[in-house]
Amino acid sequence: MEFKTYSSPHLPVADSVRSMMQRVLLALLPGIICFSWLFGAGVIINLLLAGITALFAEALVLWLRKRPLATLTDYSALLTGVLLGLALPPLAPWWVPVIGSLFAIVIAKQLYGGLGYNPFNPAMAGYVVLLISFPLELTLWSAPATAPGIIDTLLYSFTGQLPTGDALDALTMATPMDAIKTRLGLSETLSELQGSPLYGSFAGAGWEWINLWFLIGGLWLLQLRVIQWQIPTGVLAGLAATAFVFYAYNPDAYSPPLFQLFSGAAMLGAFFIATDPVSACTTPRGRLYYGLGIGILTYVIRTWGGYPDGIAFAVLLMNMAAPTIDHYTRPRVFGQGN
């Protein structure tokens, strides 16, 4: 009797890239819901625009490269679009997520070789390109719970037409992190700021809840073993520890660690962005150092840099360092060296 031959192991593999990506998207849902609850339909519009553009760009490039469309159906492009969409302000015009997504997929991912070959986090690469090219559009954040309705948002996004009676100034404001940084720079003390409406229960108003839901989603991912503990722990520890050092040194001039951990994209970055496996380190110890590096750099950029949130740049900088870190953190092989 003739049989076909296959490679060992022969037991069926339960996992797949597709199911991993699906779980990541599911874990993002609580945070997304909270985000759109607080900041309006603009979030959903951004996500849709970024996601659809990502899928379209991926399909186009795969077709041009004559490659199988498997990486289209494994949700990896969609995830990149969603992460990029989450990083953008809800009031960004429609072409912002589209351009960002196009850059992220076509240049930062496919031109390097497609899934598994990109050295830089595509979503963050796209975001950084937008941030540097269109600084105004990317810093127009609305206040939480004051966002316009869905129709108005759509109208503004696609036509730039604001709801009647509103000016852009009235709609937008700086994020709590940005505002607090500016005001601390202007020598207001932290205790004063903690009384202001900028501050919520334990961190920036509105943002603390978003970060909390992303944290919950991230912990769920950890429990499912879709991601490992080293990177999120490294990011949060690096961020908190550096913040603590400076906060302990001068509690009035620097924001506390808890604030840092729950503001901006800290939790999103720690659990969803920095953990992008392709661009991160691969050795266990390397991942810890990688995460620590991101956390420390994030704090540095947030406190002294020119941009409101440092996650994107921190991730890209550590992406550059990842191969070197991997090289020097190879685990000791069984039976070798003591």
Binding site: S7, R67, P68, A70, T71, G113, G114, G116, Y117
Partner: protein, 192 residues
């Protein structure tokens, strides 16, 4: 301005001295390139590369006179290894010099052999045993498959025998990977 120039000049001189010293003090003697190249060649001594043997070909490559893709018995593996060693681009085997064939050995048909010793004189590795008017035979383990003994034989009693694959020389096939992008060298290999 003057101080800047002086300082930079002194720095440059110092660094240059240090570099020069380390270049001499920590100099590592490496094999001459010809030895390294020769080690990569299959030592068939067949002459298909147009040189009189593997060593002359290695010397020609070291002198920059010969290209790295002239060795059919070495095939892709040798071309790639030479490319790595010499820092040149790998390229497909030059078809003018022959095709890469599977390793073979030769066998003398003892019914026909007349004992003329012409093949013994031709064999570059002395793999043929015999004497004038005595039976000649090929030592199978020493035969490199260069086929240089075949033209001189006046009675055409030497035949090429391809070596069958044995378990000892079997290599697990590399899995086909359709979804991945070929690396630079693989693309060239695929194109060759």
């Amino acid at each position: 301005m003057l101080t800047a120039l002086t300082v930079l000049g002194i720095l440059a001189a110092l660094i240059g001295l240090v570099l020069g010293y380390t270049a001499i003090r920590f100099h590592v003697d490496s094999d001459p390139v010809v030895e390294q190249i020769d080690k990569l060649l299959p030592q068939t001594q067949c002459g298909q590369c147009t040189y009189a043997g593997c060593r002359p070909y290695a010397e020609a490559m070291a002198a920059g006179e010969a290209d790295i893709n002239q060795c059919p018995p070495g095939g892709e593996t040798t071309i790639k290894a030479l490319a790595d060693l010499l820092g040149r681009d790998p390229k497909p085997l030059n078809p003018e010099h022959g095709e890469h064939t599977e390793k073979s050995v030769v066998v003398i048909d003892e019914q026909v052999c007349i004992g003329c010793t012409l093949c013994i004189q031709a064999c570059p590795v002395d793999a043929i045993v015999g004497a004038a008017k005595q039976m000649h035979t090929v030592i199978r383990d020493e035969c490199t498959g260069c086929d240089l003994c075949i033209p001189p034989c006046p009675v055409e009693c030497i035949h090429v025998v391809p070596l069958p694959p044995v378990i000892g020389n079997w290599v697990w096939p590399k899995p086909a990977d359709p979804a991945s992008q070929p690396t630079g060298t693989a693309r060239q290999q695929a194109a060759s």
